[in-house]
Symmetry: C2
Subunit: 552 residues, 2 copies
């Protein structure tokens, strides 16, 4: 038995068989149940060849594992996309705990416009929410309901009894202290909900009030301090079920949850902290005493000045924070004119709009954005590496050729998707199974198809189809424009033959009917014109934002 | 020290102080933080008087507790609305575990129309979902997106990467097995989400396929059986973090959760079961062996025939079930014609629409519906008890009088809200601090106001305002219709004086301007006419559905 499988748990190995009988190739989901495996499962035989380990099972099934599957789990999409210790990044193991001083140089923030334009920037903001528990978007348009647009940029809005979104300003008959002007000490929202919303967004539309500043405390940090300073109290808070309750005319919610929830490995995973909604515990008095002693100690820690991060939300700021980790607070303020003016007015208006969302979709968005950034990096590497190689005997390199084509398209004011198509039209030369050199040796690498299929991982048909058709477009133009063919370079005239020569009149007519024909012809003309030696061309960097925007 | 507070935890007692300095009277939320209480808190003195215990605290604060607060916790709105053992009803302690045979007499179900008409019926259906984990609504209109209407009747739709709603039918490029025709063994949905949607709805629009039946298994029952038969395996599944993963072009989700989650008291609280999305565990091999052995044992239990409840969803059926407790399954079927016909067609179409929602809002809806039912019961008790008493010297009882008024309104085809107003116009006589008898002794009990305010707990202004104005309407009519006053009964003429006599011309004009004036006058005329001795009148029961509908 090989080192790879020696002493491996057979059911684990078989449960992870990558073959297409075991996993749906279309979606990667497993096609069998664990109970479909025999009572006695053994490895009957195994052979290593061409970098794969083939296992023959006692029930006759064959599994083939790439050898790096055993050495580099991360290479396996079904394995942890992050370190095993951090896991799904929801416990303290996946967080960076902080104190206020850690942000002396500034809090995690980004401009809304940059967040929208650059997948790396967006991922950085969302990753801050994942790791630190919060981030602030600046210059978010101060229009009503914009907070829902922010939430939709990374996930789904979670509606509650407070509505799809809620207005944080003074209300005459508040059903919640948030809608008054009193100070609110650090707390988490909706503790009486289960599932509790794991994210909250607060978008500031106006804040001319005196006071009304925002505060954040890292609840995981506070819990970790309690664990270090008073382990017994920490244990009490992790095992005491606290009834959180909320009741108004239309609602009656209750959730029995601990103030500090740990995962099966004992790691801090969720904090609920909100004295306003703690109901009446029903416990033996000894346990009540122990709970209140621990609770008071934990509460005191959350109020330590070194843990209090304070800042002021101004118009256009949108705070996104982890509602099962961070405690948020608000200083008292002088109520100014509001939609329903109250007595004691003075100071200016304060109006925030908030909504709830969840961490799972945010994490998914981070992962997908990282994939896009990786794709752009891969393309850039192609341009700067392989692309520097010679281009089918032309006077320019492959990269120069494609960059020139894109620059021509841009100069002519072509829409972004055509600039991208011009830039990427020949990537098939890189990624095709057959190289450009082989094409020059008389074998068509159908680089237009292989390129279009490869690009389809990230781009829509508006980009991939002109790429797919750019060779056909050449054969079309040769059929309908004698002058065009006469202008072809020597190399291009040669590859025309390999590619099948000019289209027949019938096929030329059919081509002209294709929806993408005009775009393909446009790309083709930039392609043909993009072979100027030593012409000044922009770098790949120049086109990155344009490509990033098209990936959405 | 009294028995009530002897050996009571002082912080617990003080944290539950009901005074208006400690709790916002408008929303019942606490106005202080636990850290606001002094380090050393003692009871300085206490006295019992008129059914209340007054406690003087060492910091000078005074708390007054109704004595039954100590004896009957349920009477305290901040205490558990249900038995402490059951708590928030989310753990096994709040459920009724079942086997298929328990539904030999039929599964929990109701007609959509009845569910909408009767709060008790709606509560019964939703309570079945809470306690048993599922219920089926019949005769739900088979129109697209109707499933969202069902979800909105008790909570909020939880959007996911599958959309706000998802269509369960064959798709050519499925990103999930649900969208194929293969059999799907018992599982829970979205285990790779955290928070996982706690409820799922499946609304059948058509099901003419051969096969494609539905199955349910009580995952809590299966887990309880595992605990009883193999405690060590149960323990392994509660402490092993399993990476659940899902990945497609737009999504990359991961949640590390145990297959069986218990609460801090060790009670079963959540089950996740879905082999299709279990990723690659990274554990020492000994732990992998232990996990897979326990996992296979648990999986085998879920497949026991006695646990499999099978039924067929027909057009118009909407299944609502607990997605963190019940496992759902589907038998394979022959794909029939679909929106995208596939090869191998045969059999008929099968089309379900599904969406997700959450248990917390469902529980809240049950509680609020129960309040409405309690209110209707209270009203009925008033009519059948106190109401049987004599009515201010008239020849009919209070109840007969109000029932006659409502019957008259209904006979004249009055809208429901006016029938209700006529029925309830005199409840102030019951609930007012001053009784009708005292009114007859010359003291105005302002029963119209007290009645309207009391009714405002459940009814909108279209019902309460005519009640509020029905006395003013009498004084108005006396001012503008001499004939009306002449027709008043002797008792009514007497009470007119107590109530302030006819309105002055100015006030009569002002009254006529009130938005509710016409409705109040209508109610008043039914009021005056509803004093016929021995007239056949419908019972309160007759009006219950009408009142229930108005409470929404």
């Amino acid at each position: 038995m090989s080192d790879a499988t020696a002493s491996r748990s057979p059911y684990w190995l078989r449960d992870n068989c990558p073959c297409s009988d075991c996993r749906d190739p279309r979606n990667g989901q497993k096609l069998f149940q664990i109970t479909d495996l025999p009572e006695e499962l053994r490895i009957a035989a195994e052979v290593e060849q061409d970098g794969r380990l083939e296992v023959l099972w006692s029930d006759g099934h064959r599994s083939r594992y790439p050898l790096d599957w055993f050495t580099a789990p991360a290479a396996d999409p079904t394995a942890a996309p992050v370190s095993t210790a951090a896991g799904d990044r929801r416990s303290e193991a996946g967080k960076r705990l902080w104190r206020a001083a850690d942000f002396a140089a500034g809090i995690p923030e980004a401009r809304w416009a940059d967040y929208l334009a650059d997948p790396a920037e967006q991922a950085a903001v969302l990753r801050a929410v994942q790791r630190l528990g919060f981030a602030v978007l600046r210059e978010v348009p101060t229009v009503e309901r914009q907070v829902l647009t922010v939430a939709s940029s990374f996930g789904y809005v979670r509606e509650t009894n407070y509505g799809e979104l809620f207005d944080v300003r003074i209300e005459p008959e508040p059903n919640n202290l948030a809608f008054t002007s009193v100070a609110i000490t650090p707390h988490t929202d909706n503790p009486y909900r289960d599932p509790v919303p794991t994210l909250q967004l607060l978008h500031c539309l106006e804040n001319a009030a005196v006071g009304g500043d925002s505060g954040l405390v890292d609840g995981f940090q506070a819990a970790a301090l309690l664990r270090a300073e008073a382990p017994a109290d920490f244990a009490v808070l992790t095992r005491t079920l606290v009834p959180f309750v909320f009741r108004d005319r239309h609602t009656e919610l209750r959730a029995d949850r601990p103030l500090i929830a740990t995962d099966p490995l004992g790691r801090i995973r969720e904090v609920r902290f909100n004295n306003r909604s703690i109901g009446r515990l029903q416990l033996p008095d000894a346990e009540l005493d122990a709970f209140y002693a621990a609770y008071r100690k934990f509460a005191a820690i959350t109020l330590r000045p070194e843990l209090q991060l304070e800042f002021r939300l101004g118009p256009g700021d949108c705070l996104i924070f982890d509602n099962v980790r961070l405690l948020h607070a608000r200083t008292a303020f002088e109520p100014g004119g509001t939609s329903q003016p109250l007595e004691g007015a003075g100071g200016g208006r304060r109006h925030l709009q908030g909504c709830y969302a969840d961490l799972d979709s945010l994490a998914s968005t981070v992962a997908v954005l990282d994939r896009r950034t990786a794709a752009l990096d891969e393309l850039q590497t192609l341009f700067e590496g392989e692309g520097a190689g010679e281009y089918l005997g032309e006077a320019v390199t492959q990269a120069e050729h494609m960059l020139q084509a894109a620059a021509l398209a841009q100069r002519e004011g072509a829409p972004d998707h055509l600039v991208a198509a011009a830039l990427l039209h020949d990537v098939g030369h890189f990624t095709g199974v057959v190289t450009g050199r082989q094409l020059m040796e008389g074998q068509d690498n159908r680089h237009s198809d292989t390129g279009a299929d490869w690009l389809a991982q990230w781009f829509g048909p508006e980009v991939t189809e002109p790429v797919r058709l750019h060779v056909a477009a050449k054969r079309y133009l040769c059929a309908v424009e004698p002058a065009y063919r006469a202008g072809l370079s020597e190399a291009s005239e040669y590859t025309l033959q390999v590619q099948g020569g000019p289209l027949s009149p019938e096929r030329a007519a059919a081509f002209a009917e294709l929806p993408g024909a005009a775009d393909a012809v446009a790309v083709r003309r930039w392609d043909d014109a993009a072979k100027v030696a030593d012409a000044a061309t922009p770098t790949f960097e120049h086109f990155r934002p344009l490509l990033a925007a098209l990936m959405r």
